[in-house]
Symmetry: C2
Subunit: 305 residues, 2 copies
Amino acid sequence: MNAGESSIHSYLTISKERIEAALAHAIPADWQVPAQLRESMRYSLDAGGKRLRPILVLTAAEAVQGEAMAAASAMPVACAIECIHTYSLIHDDLPAMDDDDYRRGKLTNHKVYGEAMAILAGDALLTHAFSLIPRAARAGGVSAEIAISIVEDLALYAGAAGMVGGQAADMEGEQGKTKIEELEYIHLHKTSDLVVFSVTAGARIGGATEAQLEQLARFARKIGLAFQIQDDILDLTGDETKLGKKTNSDVEQSKVTYPYLIGLEESRQLVAKLTEEAKEALKLADLKSPERLQQIADYLVGRDH
Amino acid sequence: MNAGESSIHSYLTISKERIEAALAHAIPADWQVPAQLRESMRYSLDAGGKRLRPILVLTAAEAVQGEAMAAASAMPVACAIECIHTYSLIHDDLPAMDDDDYRRGKLTNHKVYGEAMAILAGDALLTHAFSLIPRAARAGGVSAEIAISIVEDLALYAGAAGMVGGQAADMEGEQGKTKIEELEYIHLHKTSDLVVFSVTAGARIGGATEAQLEQLARFARKIGLAFQIQDDILDLTGDETKLGKKTNSDVEQSKVTYPYLIGLEESRQLVAKLTEEAKEALKLADLKSPERLQQIADYLVGRDH
């Protein structure tokens, strides 16, 4: 591990801790809502994960503005995207969807709280995300105009033309039928769209120009796709202990993946190529402090979990 | 039927038609999303109903501003609340929730498209609602500041502290256990909260003061509760043909209702009392053209379907 790697790992760890502290306030323990509902929401929100999407919100804000202050203004939006990501996992795990009993080594939401409450907890987290963006505007540092653009983007990237659309397309896919273009559609929408939202929402708060937003959206789209292909690769080759989940689950569930369609080696090359293209777009965005975003892109290819 | 009644009926019919035309544009037939998902969203959105919530958005905007122009600016928000109402019906009908096969005489969403697609269509409609509010701001007539307040209100009234919270509390209720205070909590959140949102969002667009918003919220809270109690009464005493659904379903499903808890006659008196209190609040709001809102309040008590 060289110095740059060590530095990015501690940056990610510190950012994750800051986000988890903010999430605890975003859904406070004494919130006046039915107790089971609140507990069910918190259970999945507390279940950990890399917090990659909220980290990208904070990092993009700081990269554009060049000052740490931007990241503080962006925190409610960082919490919002984690609420969206968490709701999508709760609904994806439902018996009618992927029917998963475990996620990150813990029982899935519906295994603990029942299906009905899991559906409602997902609905409530999705709705709650949209209450956090006006909060960013009220706290200052984010104008009403920027806040309403972020609301519009979130609804676009998380909705039928974005993440939910990717999930709907994924449900219809099957081995021997799905083509590479369809798999790219699924990955771009299921995964990349929330990454694009995270990077561009943070950049908007940092004061990005339209030209910068465009390059950053390209950057995010490519690292989102690389991230998902790397996930497919790790499912085949990874270490179960490090991953915190079973490997070969895609094969067992007959899922269509990049390694299945184009082979393992070509998938690895594609991840490297996408990462290079992402870093080029990042250069063109001409940010004040692009270093952390670049390190995150490198980290995503190098990771083993 | 007297002249006032006839006039409110044609007003409601014309408003419903305008809203249904706008809804067709809100989710266009050529929208580039997975076809099954789009069809599933449209299926439930097209299933009819009184469109009471969106009508209240338009009517409140016009009542405050005193001009029809306000209603046009408010149309995207009217469509948004109908998307929220529709998603809540799709998710409520799921096998894990109320397990209903029919709604308004048509098969429920999951009976036609399957459970997984019904969950996703609900998620997509909920998310889509939040894309329509920024659209109102872009189309003009609604400032970014007002739009972001409306986003915040929608997330509040539709979320864990609002409609979803009411639904969660309802799931835990049962005959012989639920008390009148709990039933009031359920009705206020499951039903009144979206009515409060509709009236206050329209009023914000019409340019309401904080004092007017406060009285209008009281008005809406009371007519929302009266509406729900009237629903409970009609389930016991109504005409199945007019209602378009089976009566006595609450009794068959052992649901806790106002007539069950306090009797039919006292429930009727409560509806009348709430309606009077609503009309008082409406007077105190001191609007330019309050007549239609008052007629809607009267209609809700007098209706037989």
